[in-house]
């Protein structure tokens, strides 16, 4: 599709400058090493392939989270959202989870979604923590606005941190926002934010190579199968 760059200059939102998220590695409960790194815009088509099968999983609100994440990533890919970023978790090169968000302004972040494609290993918790780490420690923001679409999200974010309730609307249009402040983040950090830097070169090379994906059936089984947690 031809792109009219003159028109694009009008349609594309401005972008705040964003320092890159430095990758880190986390040892999971099964001993596997998960690399969390920032996704590049050109990674989006590959990531969407893993998000796609989740669109049809009703369990634990995977369908709505996946559908919205899919749209958000596509909007980022096509330059239709302001200052969005995406972090992803990879184990042995395989994509196991995705988180995204954006900058509402230079001091306030807007958390979007957390999608764990492999379950039972607290991958979602680690990725959400990385997202908060990015906003507070690297983008130097004062607060992040967050809503949960699933009871699991509510337990993991609102209760575990714990976040403060506000009356501020969230752009996802659901319930009122909860807020992570710098103070809340720093208090929760010792028990919820982990990871080692720098990532060993062999792991980094594996993560930066072509992103690997489980097949659709495997993804559905991991999320919604009998053993799903």
């Amino acid at each position: 599709m031809a792109v009219d760059m003159e028109l694009e200059a009008v349609l594309r939102p401005i972008q705040y400058p964003m320092v890159p998220y430095p990758p880190k590695v986390i040892t999971l409960a099964n001993g596997k090493k998960m690399v969390i790194r920032q996704a590049m815009r050109e990674d989006v088509p590959a990531i969407l392939k893993s998000v796609h099968p989740c669109l049809f999983i009703e369990r634990d609100y995977y369908d709505i989270v996946s559908a919205r994440l899919y749209g958000e990533l596509l909007a980022w890919y096509r330059y239709r959202v302001k200052s969005e970023y995406c972090l992803m978790g990879q184990v042995d090169g395989y994509l196991v989870g995705v988180v995204n968000g954006r900058l509402e302004d230079e001091k306030v972040g807007m958390s979007y979604h957390t999608l764990a494609i492999d379950r039972g290993l607290r991958i979602g918790s680690h990725l959400f923590a990385a997202k908060m780490e990015y906003h507070i420690e690297y983008l130097n923001q004062d607060a992040v606005l967050i809503v949960a679409e699933s009871p699991i999200g509510f337990r993991r974010w609102m209760v575990e941190y714990p976040l403060e309730a506000t009356k501020i609307p969230h752009e996802l249009g659901g319930g009122d926002s909860y807020r992570l402040t710098r103070e809340i983040y720093l208090k929760a950090k010792p028990r919820l934010v982990v990871g080692d830097r720098p990532v060993p070169q062999d792991l980094m090379d594996e993560a930066m190579a072509d992103i690997k994906f489980a097949d659709d059936n495997t993804i559905r089984e991991r999320i919604a199968g009998l053993k799903g947690r």
């Binding site: 040892t27 999971l28 409960a29 099964n30 923590a129 009871p151 053993k227 947690r229």
Partner: protein, 401 residues
């Protein structure tokens, strides 16, 4: 009193069975046990099912469904068989088996079906924890917010102080049972744990957080859906079947105070000791005669404590034995080769029956080599109700044809 044997055993995979109703799960497990018995009945000697006992703890609260046994006999077209639902907390399964056993031993019934099942995953973890906590004392415990994990945490702390149990000992149970779960197709949790990931690494603080100090996430069993069933008849009749009968050689049941603080020594699980002693006495066997055991490890500390209270190890030695590998497959006394509640899962009403199913498979030597205790002839189960205030133990024995 007639000797009673298990002639059919069946189970459905435990896990999160969103697609099945409680009644469907019970029916699937029942059909598997009935089919197992029927395959053995090449001479067509088995009589119709006289009675059905169904173990279930939460149908009334979680599914708004009562009179579950009456519904199941209809679902299975087993009318006019007698039918009763047995609710005895997490020991409901073993209680239902006991009722079936006594009914046949008395001579009143000839063939009985016992089914245990629970559907716990259709509510949130918080509600499931609250539902299980309803078994605690209604005035002295429950109103103050006690939960079973909380109780187990306090019990563990006391056990650590009195008997030197350490997190390393608890860890040995988690690692062993989840490793065995990876080999069991019926297990809810089929994920081996890594010591670094849940203990040594600083990242373990997130992977394996404190749940009820000093217990961590992987010290607890999962909340599961599942069902299991067995068929009982007299040993005399069972000997006419093709598969080796498994004799219920002994059983024991004992109770204790409902609240832990009323016990002279809260670390002394008297009901476990008494139930096991009764079972051993009836079977005319000792702990040293047991080749495989399924103990009620809803929390890792319970496998250690029960292994001592039933007489496998002296008090204070259970944790060390686990750490030394004595309770692994191939060890001195393999415990929870199925993965136990820790990995197979703990659908409360199903657990007591599932323990017997696993031991039946062991004693018939039907399991794959990586799960089979070679030459096993005698097995033990312990089903632990409340926090040790209502306990049942069974000693099973392989009968050579």
């Amino acid at each position: 009193m007639r000797d009673v044997a298990i002639i059919g055993a069946g189970m459905i995979p435990f896990g999160r069975r969103d697609e099945d109703t409680l009644m469907e799960m019970l029916a699937y497990a029942a059909l598997k046990a009935l089919d197992d018995a029927a395959q053995s009945d090449t001479g067509h000697v088995l009589p119709p099912i006289d009675a059905v006992y169904v173990a279930n703890m939460g149908g009334g609260m979680l599914q708004r469904q009562t009179a579950i046994a009456s519904s199941l006999v209809d679902r299975l077209s087993l009318m006019p068989a007698a039918a009763e639902t047995i609710e005895n907390g997490p020991a409901s399964g073993a209680s239902a088996v006991k009722n079936g056993l006594l009914a046949i031993a008395s001579g009143y019934y000839d063939c009985v079906l016992v089914v245990g099942g629970e559907k716990m995953r259709e509510v949130t973890g918080w509600r499931a924890t609250d539902f299980v906590a309803t078994m605690t004392h209604p005035q002295a415990e429950y109103p103050y917010g006690i939960t079973l994990p909380g109780m187990a945490g306090m019990f563990t702390r006391l056990y650590m102080e009195q008997y030197g149990v350490t997190r390393e000992h608890l860890l040995a149970i988690s690692l062993k049972n989840q490793e065995m779960g990876t080999l069991n197709p019926y297990a809810h949790v089929e994920m081996a744990l890594d010591r670094d990931g849940i203990f040594d690494s600083p990242h373990s603080i997130v992977n394996n957080p404190v749940t009820a100090d000093p217990l961590h996430l992987y010290d607890l069993c999962p909340v599961s859906d599942g069902a299991a069933a067995i068929v009982l008849c007299s040993l005399e009749l069972a000997k006419k079947l093709s598969k080796p009968p498994v004799l219920i050689a002994g059983f024991g049941q004992a109770t204790d105070t409902q609240t832990l603080q009323e016990r002279e020594d809260p670390t002394d699980l008297k009901a476990v000791t008494i139930a096991a002693q009764k079972a051993f006495a009836m079977a005319n066997l000792t702990p040293a005669d047991i080749h495989v055991a399924e103990l009620h490890d809803a929390f890792t500390i319970l496998e250690i404590a029960e292994s001592e209270h039933v007489g496998f190890f002296p008090k204070g030695e259970g944790g060390k034995a686990a750490l030394a590998g004595k309770t692994r497959l191939g060890g001195q006394i393999p415990i929870n080769v199925s993965g136990g509640l820790k990995a197979r899962g703990h659908p409360v009403g199903a657990t007591g029956v599932a323990q017997l199913v696993d031991i039946v498979w062991q004693l018939r030597h039907e399991l794959p080599a990586n799960r089979q205790v070679q030459g096993a002839k005698n097995g033990l189960t312990v089903n632990f109700g409340g926090f040790g205030n209502n306990v049942l133990a069974f000693v099973l024995k392989r009968v050579e044809q």
